[in-house]
Symmetry: C2
Subunit: 315 residues, 2 copies
């Protein structure tokens, strides 16, 4: 398939880098600095070198990307809340042109899911978004294959930054501020870590899961969210005396979405360590399925994007 990639951050760059290995061609890539478009396939290596050197990815513009002969639009621009723009309009444009869309951007599927599905219904293109939930872990395709009606709930740890901080606080007996600084030094937390530590990032993912289970109806404002910023080190010590620890746990059902710190057994499945993520999928006929893996990262998220591309029908 011919891919047009919007967004040239870690995910967009990794998709461009790995596309060939999966048998696909990159005909366009763009970000705020510019666009590179080539119907015969862009020179991925040189484009990534330009980007790394601080130069624009190319001299074309976003309109050139949409006018190119692509099969799949990969939407990997930063997640935005509320109106989910400009991501939503990007998706709309591709669907109106009867092209496929694969999202890594959580905004459109968390905040405007019903509108997105309506646009998809009127388009020959399909929308997939495995990369928006759980990085490399195949959460959405597992639910899709089990059929959403057979899944009653999804629970787990879907933010690696918060999980890393809690793991380190428990392991070292350090306080939150100290470990947050360490996480920022390591690049595990951003300069502005708000969405990771206040639970918003995890909540967006569980809202997306609820939308899949219930076929729509949820946006971020429907989620009950509590983050990890107020957890004192003493809470973790107390938990440890009882053979437990604290993790930022989310849960999505057809009826509700909530994210909050919870006590979990120290050696239990939900007590994943470091930046690792885990989801537990409760099913009607097959009990509980648990999947864990790397929830974030350029190559990790790119594998989810490319896995989605592989499941798209020929246009």
């Amino acid at each position: 398939m011919k891919l047009a990639i919007l967004g040239a951050g870690a995910v967009g760059q990794s998709v461009a880098d790995l596309a060939g290995e999966y048998g696909h061609e990159v005909v366009a890539i763009s970000d705020s600095s510019g666009a590179a478009v080539d119907p015969d396939g862009i020179d991925v290596e040189r484009t990534l070198e330009r980007k790394a050197g601080g130069d624009p990815v190319g001299t074309d513009g976003v309109d050139d990307v949409f006018e190119s002969d692509y099969d799949v639009l990969v939407e990997a621009t930063p997640t935005t809340l509320g109106d989910a723009e400009p991501g939503f309009t990007h998706v709309e444009r591709a669907l109106e042109d009867d092209r496929h869309v694969v999202l890594a951007n959580k905004g459109p599927v968390a905040e405007r899911y019903d509108e997105l599905r309506a646009l998809e219904a009127d388009s020959r293109g399909s929308v997939r978004f495995e990369a928006t939930v759980g990085g490399a872990i195949p959460v959405l395709s597992t639910i899709e294959d089990a059929t959403p009606q057979a899944v009653t709930a999804v629970r787990g740890v879907l933010n690696g930054t918060a999980n890393f901080i809690l793991t380190r606080m428990a392991a070292e007996g350090l306080d939150y501020e100290h470990v947050l600084a360490e996480a920022q030094d390591l690049g595990v937390a951003e300069a502005d870590p708000t969405f990771d530590v206040d639970g918003t990032d995890a909540a967006l993912k569980f809202v997306i899961l609820a939308n899949v289970l219930a076929d729509g109806g949820f946006s971020l404002s429907d989620a009950t969210v509590e983050g990890i910023q107020d957890i004192p080190g003493s809470a973790l010590d107390l938990a440890a005396e009882d053979g437990r620890t604290i993790r930022l746990i989310g849960e999505a059902t057809r009826e509700s979405v909530r994210v909050s710190p919870r006590l979990v057994p120290e050696n239990g499945a939900l007590a994943v360590t470091g930046t690792r993520n885990i989801v537990q999928i409760e099913t009607r006929h097959a009990g509980s399925l648990a999947s864990s893996g790397r929830g974030a990262g350029g190559p990790e998220t790119a594998t989810a994007v490319l896995s989605d591309v592989g499941r798209l029908p020929e246009l």
Copy 2:
């Protein structure tokens, strides 16, 4: 899709029972006692009642099944080794008639994989076999979506009977013979438990995995296999003193297949308990993915069969 089910044991019955919920119709079901064929869909409830009452499933024969207007042959007859008959011929017949095949029977894909793929290449039908590995856990579809070339190894616990026995031996300090008897009383081990305890069942699954990774080339005779029958209770006590336990672990790569009891950390991912299964999939770009769940059971395995049916293209 219209399903023709060969085999009316726990799996075949569960597939018949759940098919309607997934939007499919059962037009035939058969076992050694007979067959029931109805182009408008068999009466599943009455057929299962007949079976439960010890009566033949129906008065038709296996040829009637193959001559019916089905889309997908579900091969759920008992796994046989070597020539994998009669399962292999069942699959061959369906493919020669350009129909799809979904296997729960491990024999054809473990013992005659290359021949099977050759038949599939000449057919308009496709072959899928998620249900042959890991019950409800979506192992093969995860590898398929990641693309087999991106997977370097698959490791894990894929036999619930052996795992249950080892879990109980460690938990209760009982010896193998005692726990085996308990497992048989509970229905977790069969009257003849040989294939579960000598590692053959697990080996068949890892041979199937190696065939998927390497696109063929493996059969059961290529696997190095050691079972759990000779593990004394004292070995588990010794392991526990070191914070470890023993599990029957298999591993498949493109080059080899082995199954044997191994020491694993007591609280690690591979130390699943009871009849639960786990697979760890090592990937090139996304680290390690771990999936655990129920590895066996009628409804559990049926969900894997029906998940496969959902991924088949229209004929």
